[in-house]
């Protein structure tokens, strides 16, 4: 979907209903969704095409955006609305194309047999879907059609640049179309694109395809080297898995971006404990326990940091057992830089059976207490029972309970 959060906002505002047209992005008002409109240091989460024409970009500071476009309409995010719209759009896609797999809030894969009598013209089928989404939701989308999921993802990015918003790469044309693109068009590379450009001198995807697979594996490791080689040759064996969105978790994690850089260990420790409590609650609710606990910090300006893990002898869902491990990861890997984001994760999950007893603690009693706390919070809200440390200035729990994914609900 195009600028999904911003599109949901303009689509739900009757002031703009009559002026907006599906075939003209510029009939949208210059509107941005910002993390906290009250704070000029808030970040732009989404911007309409009209706002982007004025120089506004996602992740820009609100203050800077307002300097570029003083008449910008700024709204607070409404995550609950965006999730509900997303669910309904995905349902619409699934009704037209049953082989559908949601990828994110605003993206989905769908597949259909071609050539086939049911779908003689893939572009017409995609156009019908685009029209249906506009008719029901007044949200524009782009469609990339290709022989596999990765190529379709790359084609989708190109669809933003063409009138009509649909790009189709038939099998016999896909490689030629792919190889002429700049290597940054290869979705999923992230920082590896810089390495390919500056160490290997690649300019286009075609240049990457010319690199021998063993060179790629030597530089990027056997896994990523293989993947990059495959992608450059337009190959992706990823199957369509419609139920994978609802598949059981392989890990549980929570991340929070802090309102300022935290520089004191005690402050970071409070946030770690709050996130750990949430992870453990979700893990208990799912009836599993984890053996590997992980801590991730992102430093100031959201650059740099670390992600480290520790595997325990036994699986657990007990914050009291996991917290010392997280603190030891913090003490070992934190270099003292200002911390702007914290993430806590638990994986290597096993079914929760029995209680691992210790000689010096009452694990059964702690487990019973944890379940009672979970039940009280389920009924009365997350802030009905809090640790005292959450009341300290460093505590983020009370602020986070008003948000979804770190943004206002």
């Amino acid at each position: 979907m195009q600028s999904f959060y911003a599109s949901c906002e303009v689509a739900s505002d009757p002031r703009f209903a009559l002026q907006r047209r599906e075939d003209d992005d510029h009939t949208d008002p210059p509107l941005v969704v910002s993390g906290d409109p009250a704070r000029r240091t808030g970040v732009i989460l989404a911007a309409t095409p009209t706002a982007k024409l004025l120089g506004v970009e996602n992740a820009m500071r609100l203050g800077e955006a307002l300097r570029l476009a003083p008449h910008l309409l700024v709204v607070r995010p409404r995550m609950r609305l965006y999730l509900e719209v997303s669910v309904r759009i995905q349902h619409l896609i699934q009704r037209q194309f049953p082989l559908q797999e949601q990828f994110s809030v605003d993206e989905a894969f769908f597949a259909f047999p071609w050539p086939s009598r049911l779908f003689p013209d893939p572009v017409a089928a995609a156009r019908q879907l685009k029209q249906a989404i506009w008719d029901v939701f007044r949200i524009r989308c782009r469609v990339g059609l290709a022989p596999n999921k990765w190529l379709a993802k790359v084609a989708n990015k190109q669809a933003k640049r063409v009138p009509g918003g649909i790009v189709w790469w038939p099998p016999e044309q896909a490689l030629a179309a792919l190889h002429q693109l700049p290597l940054e068009a290869m979705w999923g590379l992230r920082r590896r694109a810089e390495i390919l450009r500056y160490e290997f001198g690649c300019d286009t995807v075609g240049d990457v395809a010319a690199l021998p697979a063993h060179q790629l594996r030597a530089r990027f490791g056997p896994a990523w080297g293989t993947v990059i080689h495959r992608w450059a040759h337009g190959e992706d064996p990823s199957p369509m898995e419609p139920d994978s969105f609802q598949a059981p978790h392989k890990s549980y994690s929570h991340r929070t971006t802090l309102p300022r850089d935290y520089r004191e260990r005690a402050e970071v420790a409070v946030v770690i404990l709050e996130l750990l409590d949430e992870v453990c609650t979700r893990v208990r609710r799912a009836g599993v326990r984890g053996r590997r606990v992980s801590l991730g910090l992102t430093y100031e300006r959201l650059q740099g940091g670390f992600w480290r893990s520790k595997t325990l002898a036994h699986a657990t869902d007990d914050a009291q057992q996991l917290y010392p491990e997280l603190l030891s990861l913090l003490d070992r890997w934190w270099d003292g830089s200002g911390v702007r984001a914290v993430c806590v994760g638990l994986d290597v999950l096993l079914p929760a059976e029995g209680v691992q007893l210790g000689l010096f603690d009452d694990a059964v009693r702690r487990q019973r207490l944890a379940r009672v706390v979970d039940e009280v919070r389920e009924v009365y809200g997350e802030t009905s029972l809090m640790r005292a440390v959450s009341l300290l200035p460093a505590g983020q729990l009370r602020d986070r309970t008003q948000k979804i994914g770190g943004h206002y609900a």
């Binding site: 995550m79 609950r80 999730l83 509900e84 997303s86 669910v87 309904r88 995905q90 349902h91 797999e101 949601q102 990828f103 994110s104 809030v105 894969f109 999921k149 990765w150 999923g188 896994a223 990523w224 293989t226 993947v227 992706d236 064996p237 990823s238 199957p239 898995e241 994978s244 969105f245 609802q246 598949a247 392989k250 979700r282 979804i404 994914g405 609900a409």
Partner: protein, 119 residues
């Protein structure tokens, strides 16, 4: 999951718990069926089936509506004081007539189904 095998996109996907909950809620809502409206002659046929099974002490399979899908009870029919009961393996259960969508006696089913609506 190794990134060289399987669905790479499933491995790279991050799903907010609230998003997953919204999808689950939506799917449950979509699966909910409205209560069926049965025609008069279907009721009459079911009444006959019930009476015959009760007289002959034969087991009946009764289909009942729930918003989440059909429920099936099986047992010996009993009529008491205008109420319908089934003596099932779980004990005697009172039938809510408003939820009954069909009955089967033996190998023959005369229940109304959605595929063959009563005209």
């Amino acid at each position: 999951m190794r990134i060289t095998e399987g669905n790479l996109f499933a491995g790279m996907r991050l799903v907010l718990p609230e998003h997953r909950a919204a999808v689950t809620r939506w799917q449950a809502d979509v699966r909910r069926q409205p209560p069926p409206a049965l025609a008069e002659d279907v009721w009459q046929e079911m009444a006959y089936t019930w009476a015959a099974a009760e007289a002959q002490q034969r087991s009946l399979r009764v289909r009942l509506y729930t918003p989440e899908g059909e429920e099936v009870w099986e047992g010996l029919p009993e009529s008491r004081g205008g109420e319908l009961w089934l003596r099932t393996a779980e004990g005697r259960r009172r039938l809510d007539r408003g939820r009954v969508t069909g009955m089967e006696a033996g190998a023959v089913s005369i229940a109304r189904t959605r595929e063959f609506p009563v005209p």
